[in-house]
Assembly symmetry: C2
Homo-oligomer: 224 residues x 2
DNA sequence: ACACGGCGAGAGCAGTGCTCTTGACTCTGA
DNA sequence: TCAGAGTCAAGAGCACTGCTCTCGCCGTGT
């Protein structure tokens, strides 16, 4: 039996990798994505730059890992914020607020995932599932409590979205759902990126209003 | 009389400046903002890197100029797309589509102004007016044709937005207007930044739906 | 006619991502 | 037990970046 043999190596490797990622995230938070430098990460972790390449293939791969971690972090927050026992609109608002709070706490990471893609860098496919996590929380609320509007649309809606997204959602709510998801990140993004300077004063209140408007659009019942 | 004297220098200067900006925009479009390099701009324009510093103070200032030009470009498109004689919702939709079209044609420039701010770079104040240009087109349509909803809100709205933004808009429409403006760029941004991959198939149709929803929210009369 | 000032060129500094080679260290299988 | 395989940190080096400073050229305004 190979008591620890390979294990000790694997463990050391995992720890070093963790240290690199942590330091990278620290620098990302402090100086932004563009200023993230493999060399300075290496310096801070206490090794020479070339050694880092044993753990992460390239700067881009490092970014990819940070992106996935960030998606997961928002998603987790969103999931945690939702109390399935609470009234629908309260769940809804809690999730919107949670996303905003996370974004304010981690603006650089938010920019990394919802801002312009780092140029010359195409987000690889493995980020897609992580990206959907937050959206699924919204969809879950809608699926459970949303009721489609009375006025039937013009039925052209069927081809607008991809098939099989938004499982368990009434078709008439699919487009409003995607619109609401967009609105959430659009609003938070505008705040984070400074577009609301000289425009919106009370951003939290504003987000609540927008969330409420969106809640109506996806057919959540009015507040008690 | 100083026939051409100062004029000839000034002209040469203006031409060189133009050439630098044009080449910079070309490289921005081709490789993205982060890959924009003063040295390579200089190389392409045919001078040495240090010389371009006579025309632009820094890479950041170059970016600032490109940002302002980009804001103006979308704004101009939006203004041109609006036919004040057309039915309100048609005007509205035309503006939304125009913004989307411009964004699809100039994704890098769109990313520059509506994506994450280039890290380590704070957009200076002089970009703010240019940024508002597109918004004003939307506001104009709302101001002329929007009617506030019947259900009076809870009046807390007064403090949410800054004073004096959105001139000539009924207070009850102010928040929906900002929300609509946000929704427009949120939706276009999500498309440009690839967030709709595997989600939205027909993006133009989707934008139309969202625009229509937003039009209702800001009280534009229903289509004839 | 002349001094000033704008201009382009070049060298140079400090930093970057990334590659390749070298030497040491550790774990493993016979 | 011990040689060989595999892994690792380190260093040098390449090509690139933003930016500064100094040097001469030459048009310009007085």
């Amino acid at each position: 039996m190979r008591s620890v043999p390979n294990g000790v190596r694997a463990r050391a490797r995992a720890e070093t990798t963790r240290a690199i990622l942590d330091e990278a995230r620290r620098q990302l938070a402090e100086h932004g994505a563009a200023a993230l430098s493999l060399r300075s990460v290496a310096r801070e972790v206490g090794m020479v730059s070339s050694a880092v390449y044993r753990y992460v293939a390239s700067r881009d791969e490092l970014l990819t890992r940070l992106i996935i971690e960030a998606y997961d972090a928002v998603g987790e927050r969103a999931e945690a914020a939702r109390d399935p026992a609470a009234p629908p609109r309260e769940q809804w608002r809690a999730v919107w607020r949670a996303v905003r709070t996370w974004a304010l706490e981690h603006p650089s990471e938010y920019a990394l995932i919802y801002g312009s893609p780092v140029p010359g860098y195409a987000a690889p496919a493995e980020t897609i599932p992580a990206a959907g996590r937050t959206a699924l929380v919204l969809v879950a609320i809608i699926a459970e409590h949303g009721t489609p509007p009375d006025d039937d649309g013009d039925d052209g809606d069927a081809d607008v979205l991809e098939d099989d997204v938004l499982p368990g959602l009434p078709p008439a709510l699919a487009i409003p759902a995607v619109a609401a998801w967009t609105q959430l990140f659009g609003t938070v993004g505008f705040e984070i990126f400074g577009q609301y300077q000289n425009v919106v004063r009370d951003r939290e209140a504003f987000l609540d209003r927008v969330a409420d408007e969106a809640a109506t659009a996806v057919g959540l019942p009015a507040e008690a």
